[in-house]
C-alpha cells in the first residue's frame, strides 16, 4: 500500500473513464464515481493500518520517518530528485477533502455534460490526482510538477466545457497560475543551488532544504517567489482577478473543484513551504501579507455585493474568505493556524455547495443573472432551503464550520494585531450583507408561476445533505479536525517560534 498507488488509481480511472465513453455515454460518470470511491476506500484502508497513537505524534519536519506515511524512490539522481511522497495529519485532511469534493463534483455534473463525457470525467479525475499529488509531494521538484500539471486538465475543463466567454477565462487562469509558477520554479532552483553550495550535492527534498535557512536579500526574494505563486492560487488581493472569470465560465464541476480544492493548494503551499522554508523573511514580510489578507477580506466582500452574476458573487466571496486564511497563516500562532486549516475545509465545502447551486440554477434557467431570478423558493423549495443553509454558513453563523474557522482566526490574530483583527471582523458583517442580498434576489421576492422548474431530485439532495452534515459537524464538533492538524502545526511552529514582526507599535 503506498501513496503512489492512490495517485495511480485516479490517473488510471481517468483513462478508463475516457475510453468507456465508446461503450455508453452514461458509463464515464459511473466509472468516475467508482474510481473516487475506490481511492477513498484505499486511503481509509491505508490510514486504518496505522497505529492509533501515531496521529498525535508531532512529526519531525526534517525527517520523513516520523510522518504517518512516507515513501521515497530515486527518480533523477543527477539532480538529487526523488519521487518522495509523505502524509501527515494536514495532508490527510486535505486529501480526504479533495476526494470528497471530487464526488460532489461528479454528482454536480451528472446530467450537465453531453459533449465528450468520457474526456470530461477523465479531466476531473486527473485534476483530483494532480491536487492530491500537490498535497503529498515532499520533493520540491515533484511538488512543482504536480502544481503545474494539475492546471492542464483544469484548463481543458474550462476551455472545452465552459460557458460563453471560456477562451478568455481559461487563458487568463492558465497564464496567471503558470507565470507565478515560473517565479516559484526560479526560487526552487535557487534554493536547490544554495543547498548544492552548502553540501556539494543537489537535493530537492523538503526535509533536506528545510534546514537550509537562506536569509538576507536573496532569502527574501526567494520567499517572494513562493509567496506570489501561492497567493495567486489562493487567490489574495491583488492577484485575484483571474478567479471571477474562471469560476464564472467553468462548468459546474470545474467551479466546484476550483473553489473547493484548487484554491486550498495555495494556502497549503504557504503553510507547508513558503513560511517554514524562509521563516525570518516570512515573518518580516508578515505585516504586508496580512495587509493583503485584510484588504482581500474587505475588497472581495464589496465586490461580491456589487455583482449581479450568481457565480461571480460566490467567486468574490471566495476572495474575501481566503483573505481570512492569509491573515491566519501569517499570524503564525496556534489558534490562528487552526482557524486557517478549519477555514480551508469549511470554505471548501460551503463554496462547493454554492457553486453546485449556481450550476443547478444555470442548468434550469439558462442564466446566472440574479436580476432575472426572484421568488424561486416558491418554484423550488428544496433548492431554496439548501441555498439558505449555505448562504448563512458562508456568512459565518455560529454552529457551522465557517464560524469556527473565522472565529479562531480572529482570536489568534487579535494577539498579534488588534487593528488587523478589527478590519477583518468587518468582513463578517459584509459577508452577511452580500449573502442575504443574494438570497433576496434569487429565492425571495415575487414568485413567477409561469416558470416550470424542476426542484432538486434525489441525487442532488444527497450531495447537499452530505455537505450540510459536514458543515454542521465541523461547527458543533470540530475537535477531530483540530486534533488531526494540531501535531503538524506544532511541528511547523517549532521551526520558528517568533511571531510576525511589526515595525514599531503602530499596529
Amino acid at each position: 500500500m503506498s501513496l503512489s498507488t492512490l495517485l495511480l488509481i485516479l490517473l488510471a480511472g481517468g483513462l478508463v473513464a475516457w475510453f468507456s465513453e465508446r461503450i455508453n455515454k452514461d458509463l464515464p460518470r459511473w466509472v468516475s464515481l467508482a474510481t473516487i470511491v475506490l481511492a477513498l476506500l484505499y486511503l481509509l484502508a491505508m490510514v486504518n493500518g496505522l497505529e492509533v497513537g501515531s496521529f498525535s505524534v508531532v512529526p519531525d519536519p526534517t525527517s520523513g520517518d516520523s510522518w504517518l506515511i512516507h515513501s521515497r524512490q530515486e527518480w533523477i539522481p543527477r539532480f538529487g530528485i526523488s519521487f518522495e511522497l509523505a502524509m501527515d495529519g494536514l495532508s490527510l485532511l486535505l486529501v480526504v477533502l479533495t476526494l470528497l469534493l471530487g464526488v460532489i463534483a461528479v454528482a454536480a455534473s451528472w446530467v450537465e455534460i453531453d459533449f465528450k463525457p468520457g474526456l470530461f470525467q477523465a479531466n476531473i479525475l486527473w485534476t483530483l490526482a494532480g491536487v492530491s499529488g500537490v498535497f503529498l509531494a515532499m520533493d520540491l521538484f515533484l511538488f512543482f510538477l504536480f502544481w503545474e500539471v494539475m492546471l492542464i486538465p483544469m484548463y481543458l475543463l474550462i476551455a472545452i466545457w465552459g460557458h460563453e466567454n471560456k477562451a478568455y477565462a481559461a487563458m487568463k487562469f492558465f497564464i496567471f497560475t503558470q507565470v507565478s509558477g515560473l517565479l516559484m520554479l526560479l526560487s526552487i532552483m535557487l534554493l536547490a543551488w544554495k543547498g548544492h553550495e552548502v553540501t556539494g550535492s543537489y537535493s530537492f527534498s523538503y526535509f533536506d532544504l528545510l534546514g537550509l535557512q537562506v536569509e538576507g536579500r536573496l532569502g527574501y526574494a526567494m520567499m517572494l517567489g513562493f509567496f506570489v505563486a501561492f497567493t495567486v492560487k489562493l487567490p489574495a488581493f491583488p492577484f485575484h482577478t483571474w478567479l471571477p472569470d474562471a469560476h464564472t465560465q467553468a462548468p459546474t464541476a470545474g467551479s466546484v473543484l476550483l473553489a473547493g480544492i484548487l484554491l486550498k493548494t495555495g494556502a497549503y503551499g504557504l503553510l507547508r513551504f513558503a513560511i517554514p522554508l524562509f521563516p525570518e523573511a516570512s515573518m518580516s514580510f508578515a505585516p504586508v501579507a496580512m495587509g493583503l489578507g485584510a484588504a482581500g477580506v474587505i475588497y472581495g466582500a464589496i465586490l461580491a455585493f456589487a455583482q449581479t452574476d450568481f457565480k461571480r458573487l460566490v467567486a468574490y466571496s471566495s476572495v474575501s474568505h481566503m483573505g481570512f486564511v492569509l491573515l491566519g497563516l501569517y499570524a503564525w500562532n496556534s489558534l490562528a493556524l487552526q482557524g486557517a486549516v478549519m477555514q480551508m475545509v469549511a470554505h471548501g465545502v460551503s463554496t462547493a455547495a454554492l457553486f453546485m447551486l449556481a450550476g443547478a440554477l444555470q442548468h434550469r434557467l439558462h442564466t446566472r443573472n440574479m436580476e432575472a431570478m426572484g421568488g424561486l423558493w416558491h418554484n423550488m423549495p428544496r433548492m431554496g432551503a439548501c441555498a439558505m443553509f449555505f448562504a448563512i454558513a458562508s456568512l459565518g453563523l455560529p454552529g457551522l464550520g465557517n464560524f469556527v474557522a473565522e472565529f479562531l482566526i480572529l482570536l489568534g490574530l487579535f494577539k498579534v494585531s488588534p487593528w488587523m483583527t478589527a478590519i477583518a471582523a468587518l468582513g463578517l458583517i459584509t459577508a452577511a450583507i452580500y449573502s442575504l442580498w443574494m438570497m433576496q434576489l434569487t429565492f425571495q421576492g415575487k414568485p413567477d408561476d409561469s416558470r416550470d422548474l424542476k426542484d432538486f431530485g434525489l441525487r442532488e439532495m444527497t450531495a447537499m445533505a452530505g455537505m450540510v452534515i459536514a458543515l454542521i459537524w465541523l461547527g458543533l464538533y470540530p475537535q477531530p479536525v483540530l486534533e488531526l492538524a494540531q501535531p503538524v502545526l506544532d511541528s511547523l511552529q517549532n521551526l520558528l517560534d517568533t511571531g510576525p514582526k511589526f515595525a514599531g507599535a503602530a499596529l
Partner: protein, 481 residues
C-alpha cells in the same frame, strides 16, 4: 588514413554513399516509393553506423574532423531527424513537386552537412558543413514548384544566407591573417598570445558573430526567419528549425570550448546580450501571429536565445560542465519537439493545393477529428512552453539550473519573462484545437497511413520519455562530456 579512421567516419560515409546510390537510382528509374525507401534505409544505416564508430572514440581523423561521442550522438540525432522528415515529406512532395525524387537526395546531402558540423574542429570543416547544409536547403525550400511562396522564401534565404556565409568567411580570413591557424585548438593557443584589444580580431569577431547569428536567427539578425519558415514547405521548415540550428549551435559551442573563447569577457557579454534580446523580441513578436508557422518561427528565435544563456554561463569554468550538459540536453529535446510541431503542420498540408493549412483556424476542432495528431501537437506545444512531464521542461530546467549556478540575474529575468509570454501563444493554439466541432468549418484531410501513426506515436513517446525518465540520457551525457 587507416581502416579505423574510416570506421570512425562511418556515419558520414554511409550518408555520402546513400546520396550517390539515390542519384544513380533516380537517373535510371524515377519512382518516389523506391527513392523514399532508399532514403529511409540510408538514414537508418547511418544512424546505426554510429555504434561501430563509437568504439573508436575519441579519435582525430585528419585535422578537420574529430570523431568523439558527442559528434556521434548528434550525427545519430540528425539522421533520425532526417528520417522523420523523409516520412513526413512523402505524401507532401508527391502532391507538390512534378519530379519529387531529387528532394530526398537533397535531404540526405543536407543531413550530411549537419553531421560534418557535428564532427568539425576546424574552421574549414565548419565552413564546409555550413555550406553543404545551406546549399541543399536553398533547393529544398524552393522544391514545391506549384506556388510562388516557396520560391520567394528560397531566394530570400539564398541571398541573405549567402551574404552571411561571406561575412563569416571574411571573419575567418581575418582570424587567419592574425593568428595563422584554423584548427580550433591551435587557434585558441594563437589567440592567447595576441593582445585582446587587437582591432583586426575585434572586426573578425564581429563579422563571425553576425554570420553565425544569422544562421541561428538571433536578434538582431533574425529578420529572415518568419518569411523563410512560412514560405518553405513544412517538412523542410521542421528540418531547418531543428537540424540546421542544432548543428550550427553544436559547432559554435565546440569552437568556444576548444579555442577557449570564454577568455574574452566582451565576447561572453555580447553573447549574453544576444540571448536576452532573442528571448524577449522572439517571444513578443510571436504573440501577434495568426499563422502557426510564423509563430513557431518567432518562438524558435526565442528558443535559440534560451540556448545562448548556456554559452554565457560557460564563461565561468566551474559551471561549464553543467552548462554544456544543459545545452546538449536542450538541443535534443528541442529537436524532437520542433520536428513534432512542424510534422503536424506538414501532415495537415499534405493533400496539396497551393496554400498550406497553417493558419490558426485551420487547426480548430482538430482534437475531435484527429485525436492522435492533436495529441502530437499538444505534446509538442506543451514541451515548447516548458510544462512539466515533457522534454522541453527538463531542457528548461537545465537552462534554469545553469543560469542559477552563475547567478545571471538579467538572463534569468529575461528567461522568466520570455517563458511567461510564450505560454500565451502556445496555449492559443491548444485552444483552437479544442474548439467544439460545430464552431468551425471542415478540416483539411491529412494522410492516415500506418507510417504516420507510428511516427506520431514515436514522437509523442520520445518527448514524454525525455520529460519523465531523463536520468538515462543525463547519465550518458555526463559520461561523455
Amino acid at each position: 588514413m587507416t581502416v579505423n579512421d574510416f570506421q570512425a567516419l562511418l556515419p558520414l560515409l554511409v550518408l555520402a554513399i546513400g546520396s550517390t546510390v539515390l542519384m544513380l537510382q533516380i537517373a535510371f528509374w524515377r519512382n518516389i516509393k523506391l527513392t523514399s525507401a532508399l532514403t529511409v534505409l540510408t538514414f537508418v544505416a547511418a544512424a546505426l553506423s554510429c555504434l561501430p564508430a563509437a568504439e573508436l572514440t575519441p579519435r582525430a581523423v585528419t585535422p578537420l574532423l574529430q570523431a568523439d561521442q558527442l559528434a556521434l550522438l548528434f550525427s545519430a540525432l540528425f539522421c533520425v531527424a532526417g528520417l522523420v522528415t523523409t516520412v513526413l515529406s512523402v505524401d507532401y512532395m508527391a502532391q507538390r513537386g512534378d519530379e519529387p525524387e531529387e528532394y530526398f537526395l537533397l535531404l540526405v546531402l543536407s543531413t550530411l552537412g549537419a553531421c560534418v558540423l557535428a564532427y568539425s574542429v576546424h574552421l574549414v570543416s565548419l565552413l564546409l558543413g555550413v555550406e553543404l547544409l545551406s546549399v541543399a536547403l536553398y533547393a529544398l525550400i524552393a522544391y514545391p514548384d506549384k506556388s510562388v511562396l516557396p520560391l520567394e522564401a528560397a531566394i530570400k534565404y539564398l541571398v541573405l544566407s549567402g551574404a552571411a556565409s561571406a561575412t563569416m568567411l571574411f571573419g575567418f580570413a581575418l582570424l587567419y591573417a592574425v593568428t595563422g591557424a584554423l584548427a580550433f585548438t591551435e587557434l585558441g593557443q594563437a589567440l592567447a598570445r595576441e593582445q585582446a584589444n587587437n582591432t583586426i580580431l575585434l572586426v573578425a569577431a564581429t563579422l563571425i558573430i553576425a554570420g553565425l547569428g544569422f544562421k541561428l536567427s538571433l536578434v538582431p539578425f533574425h529578420m529572415w526567419t518568419p518569411d523563410v519558415y512560412e514560405g518553405a514547405p513544412s517538412p523542410v521548415t521542421g528540418f531547418l528549425a531543428s537540424v540546421s540550428k542544432a548543428a550550427i549551435f553544436l559547432a559554435l559551442m565546440r569552437w568556444f570550448l576548444e579555442s577557449n573563447l570564454f577568455q574574452y569577457d566582451i565576447l561572453v557579454d555580447v553573447i549574453g546580450l544576444l540571448a536576452i534580446f532573442s528571448m524577449l523580441v522572439g517571444n513578443l513578436l510571436a504573440l501577434q501571429q495568426e499563422n502557426v508557422k510564423r509563430m513557431l518561427a518567432y518562438s524558435s528565435i526565442a528558443h535559440m536565445g534560451y540556448l545562448l544563456i548556456v554559452l554565457a554561463v560557460a564563461g565561468n569554468p566551474e559551471n561549464r560542465p553543467l552548462a554544456i550538459e544543459a545545452a546538449v540536453y536542450y538541443l535534443i529535446a528541442y529537436t524532437a519537439t520542433t520536428l513534432a510541431a512542424f510534422g503536424l503542420l506538414a501532415l495537415l498540408s499534405s493533400n496539396g493545393n497551393d496554400r498550406e493549412n497553417v493558419q490558426l483556424h485551420d487547426l480548430s476542432g482538430l482534437f475531435w477529428q484527429r485525436p492522435l495528431l492533436a495529441c502530437l501537437m499538444l505534446v509538442a506545444l506543451l514541451s515548447l512552453a516548458g510544462i512539466p512531464l515533457t522534454a522541453g521542461f527538463i531542457g528548461k530546467f537545465y537552462i534554469f539550473s545553469a543560469a542559477v549556478s552563475g547567478y545571471h540575474w538579467l538572463m534569468l529575468g529575461a528567461l522568466v519573462i520570455g517563458s511567461a509570454i510564450g505560454i500565451y501563444y502556445y496555449l492559443r493554439v491548444i485552444f483552437f484545437m479544442t474548439r467544439r466541432p460545430e464552431e468551425h468549418h471542415s478540416l483539411p484531410t491529412a494522410p492516415d497511413g500506418w507510417q504516420i501513426r507510428t511516427l506520431s506515436c514515436a514522437l509523442i513517446a520520445s518527448i514524454l520519455l525525455l520529460g519523465t525518465v531523463p536520468q538515462p540520457l543525463m547519465a550518458y551525457l555526463r559520461s561523455i562530456l
